[in-house]
Assembly symmetry: C2
Homo-oligomer: 686 residues x 2
Amino acid sequence: MAEPLRRRLPLLPLLLLAAGGLRAAERSGGSSSAMEELATEKEAEESHRQDSVSLLTFILLLTLTILTIWLFKHRRVRFLHETGLAMIYGLIVGVILRYGTPSTSGHDKPFSCSQEDRPFTTLLVNVSGKFFEYTLKGEISPGKIHNVEQNDMLRKVTFDPEVFFNILLPPIIFHAGYSLKKRHFFRNLGSILAYAFLGTAVSCFIIGNLMYGVVKLMKLVGQLSDKFYYTDCLLFGAIISATDPVTVLAIFNELHADVDLYAVLFGESVLNDAVAIVLSSSIVAYQPTGENTHAFDAAAFFKSVGVFLGIFSGSFMMGAVTGVVTALVTKFTKLHCFPLLETALFFLMSWSTFLLAEACGFTGVVAVLFCGITQAHYTYNNLSVESRSRTKQLFEVLHFLAENFIFSYMGLALFTFQKHIFSPVFIIGAFVAIFLGRAAHIYPLSFLLNLGRRHKISWSFQHMMMFSGLRGAMAFALAIRDTATYSHQMMFSTTLLIVFFTVWIVGGGTTPMLSWLNIRVGVDPDQDPPPTNDSFQVLQGDGQDSAQRNRTKQESAWLFRLWYSFDHNYLKPILTHSGPPLTTTLPSWCGLIARCLTSPQVYDNQEQLREEDSDFILNDGDLTVTYGDTTITANGSSGPHTATTNLDSRRTKSSSEEALERDLGAADHEVTSRGTRLVFPLEYNA
Amino acid sequence: MAEPLRRRLPLLPLLLLAAGGLRAAERSGGSSSAMEELATEKEAEESHRQDSVSLLTFILLLTLTILTIWLFKHRRVRFLHETGLAMIYGLIVGVILRYGTPSTSGHDKPFSCSQEDRPFTTLLVNVSGKFFEYTLKGEISPGKIHNVEQNDMLRKVTFDPEVFFNILLPPIIFHAGYSLKKRHFFRNLGSILAYAFLGTAVSCFIIGNLMYGVVKLMKLVGQLSDKFYYTDCLLFGAIISATDPVTVLAIFNELHADVDLYAVLFGESVLNDAVAIVLSSSIVAYQPTGENTHAFDAAAFFKSVGVFLGIFSGSFMMGAVTGVVTALVTKFTKLHCFPLLETALFFLMSWSTFLLAEACGFTGVVAVLFCGITQAHYTYNNLSVESRSRTKQLFEVLHFLAENFIFSYMGLALFTFQKHIFSPVFIIGAFVAIFLGRAAHIYPLSFLLNLGRRHKISWSFQHMMMFSGLRGAMAFALAIRDTATYSHQMMFSTTLLIVFFTVWIVGGGTTPMLSWLNIRVGVDPDQDPPPTNDSFQVLQGDGQDSAQRNRTKQESAWLFRLWYSFDHNYLKPILTHSGPPLTTTLPSWCGLIARCLTSPQVYDNQEQLREEDSDFILNDGDLTVTYGDTTITANGSSGPHTATTNLDSRRTKSSSEEALERDLGAADHEVTSRGTRLVFPLEYNA
């Protein structure tokens, strides 16, 4: 009865997510009444309805997932994480769609008509006197033409791969940056950077080379039916090097496992996502000149390295700049009186980072990550209390929905994706390669890092990191981006299986693994680790004061000390309401600027404001750099993590250091609650 | 330097909003290296970049709007509302885009190729051996073919009209339903329904007929260059009858103007949006048989009426059902321990309403409205405190962004829309018609309603309602949906001007108007109006007890009393944790079901739980229906709004009534804070 009305309502709600099955209904004038137009309208209407149904399927899937997650949490089931659950439900729906729906649709006959030159983006087609506008969707390889004519429902639930990259990943990545536990992140910054950059590169090249061997082997035994280049293998290495220990971290969070291990794992996974994206882009950009297009070419290689550095630093700058602009705006306007405006501004500025980076040719997802970190480091301090919780909660919800959507789509894709190529040799080879790649990433790097670290990374932590190298949303999004060729299809299918395996089997084994490795759980993240039995301290129980001092110096290298003092003395006072007044830190000839930039609040309660300045962990001696006016009796045994600290020696520390240390605890409490992915009932510490 | 990498990143971020300028880049395999492919890739890359830039334009526009809003609020400027501001900025950017950018783009040559039958939704085109897939975008009237080839930037900022209807309106409408001030809404339900249904229909027909006269006149003087049917005029009537007093309500909120006037205006505008949507759909569905397709046809008319009733009730049911399902789920699971899950579920269920209604052929926007009301009435009570604020804030932000986006787009559209037809006669006629239509809507209906109302709608209130008949987002979205024909283009241009005029001139005049009409401001919404000088009471100062009682009976007609007792005795206990236990309200033979459905909390603290049951305003005597066990000494002068109440007579009331009345105040406080659109500093009551 209500049918005729729907004809003017095409599928726009779906634009939000369902780009794959997008077929716009035509909007025709009201004056003609030909039969074929009615038929087309009916068809468009039907298509719109199907789009709604397919999106509804996903929403119901997510709803079901949420309810089961609740049940699992309620019953304290820990062997399966919510993302694993989402995948299972996706799988079930995929099977139903695959085998339970009719397999052909009658009215999607492709129409061929030859053009001479290159394809236009817009096409006008004359159909019995009426003109219709068409837009270019993409190239189809000649062999696949008949695949266009496939199961309607399967097509509907197949999204454009770029949806994942440009709509679903940004909130996930932004949330990761925004919820970094800054204290522990910065304390372990050196290790995190080493793992993320060096480690990911090592892992990528090892996996790439191993897979090239596997591919050679497959060619030898005749298992390969199409081309598979060395660059494809490297691309696979980059794709699969993006770890996503969401399952492990959720369990860590729930069990209150060691915060440093958490920080290293989380920091590494966040940054290595960015590295993997840029790495895969660089590998794609690797185009040697001449005919032999897939051999090694030094010029092309260096160009790729240049591209890597260019994109990475460009995206980093974009993210940092929009973060800084937001901080300045929120500092110098009194926007915090209107939390709604503040939240909206925060959201828009963070989104504009993505668009700005894309518009400039950088990678939006990476920019969004650094924007999130900058926002958390500066802007967050300027926000009103209400906006802090609003922004936190807004991105938490977006992150939760996007993540579960991706994982349930993964489950679905195993059955609904039409071009799977499962090669047992390749899959087994890939599993071995990621294991070896992870091992070659963690153990040697940890050894090197331990040479310089005061708090050694213990063997059990190394094993846990090795174990936690799960693959997830990022690997999937990178793999699904390009499934045009044989090699990419095989890589996609393999990635999907690896994600399934790691999330279900490895993720489920986290709790047993933790207890097997004797990793401390039930840690209150606000507290520093107890002075004895700290797993980070195992290797240095006999450390002397001087040796310790020396290591500390190494760890807090000049670069970080420089950055910290710069951040504390200039950036924080300029961008937030905290830190020392600029009038004291800037040279006297910039007096006017300093007065303009310094927040009036700083003068009022300078002592109290230090509380907000708590993101950087202080190592001994750092304070002599930052507070030139107070002399610190650095007795070598101070600092938050030393094994020999006793209350009396703490008492002798200078007041400024003590105050800052106290502040760290206070602020970390706040940061911790922000980092919590899901709100667990706190009573059950294992 | 980073350019080649961008080729695999088409415009998906834009799918979110920018459907108009959508031109997907092709994803080609890695093996070919022909020059034209590179050219196409460059082009796609360029297109992606332009898309990013155009979306960035909107985001910067919104950012600028937010900052200026803050400045205005900060300086307490009230002559221009934020939406008016958004339009001004949109206008400025529109002018820049229109006159500041080069006007043609070289590479969008349309290509024509003839097909025999009807258009396919998917098209395969063979370009020098390679196949490209195209999707149908829509029909283009032959005269407009050359318009396809137009300013690139203008095209980029032109969204698919359906974006407004299917992406931007739902959060606005849902928020309206979710933030209804239930107490005052239900107290004035009869009047609101009358204004919304009868009033909108009257207004639509009066405007439609007046405009038909104008059109006839234009034809007479040769001002009309194409067809303009009677149904087009009626459609214009429906479009322009959707009032949107957002400006007025914001000012009311800020000045704490009379809550009943606020409730009536807000309720009317919310419901009349729904009525206008369905009305316009029904008018479009009005297709008389035979050759003379635009004359009156009784069969088609009744079909349209049927369609109206069908769509309206269907959408209502959809919204109510998903709301009820959400309430049941949140009641019977202990999801409130995990606010994130709860919020996500709430969001998904509310979104699924839209999709469900669309999939069933009803109107998603209308369904979403009723879903919002149901969620606020039932589900909200089951949510955890954190989820209440989360959901509230989430939809508040979405609403704010969507609304300001629409208004800034309106400003932009005045210059960037390519098919404006401004006819002075039509525009002047339209202004006169909406004035007369609004007058014919408000005054006669108010007169009729006052016959039955206990609290009369005073003249000043009627004038204020007349004055507040602004047009806004809904009228725009309805008008832009179909701009294919001459008549629709003229209607769109006229609607745009009407929206500008009403938001700027009429909206800006709200504060002077309020003081000119002597409407009470600075009312604490938690308090009932003071017993004297209440503008609602002016006409009945001499009302006797018996007469008053009589009027009350009329107002709280049997239908509402029946509904209230049903809601309070059955629905609330089933769907929420409040209300009397079902074991006492259901007949004894349903004992088992009653025990299962009743929340255990109800038994524990039945007395305290009544506090939550506070959404329905009680009229005298109602309690005798709902609480059969307590006899109430209805002394005729009780009830929250009587002029002659004194403290002693109140004391004599039965405890249950008194408790409920107390509760109403307590709960309304909560509801009020939910209804606040923006958080204003509360210190300045005019």
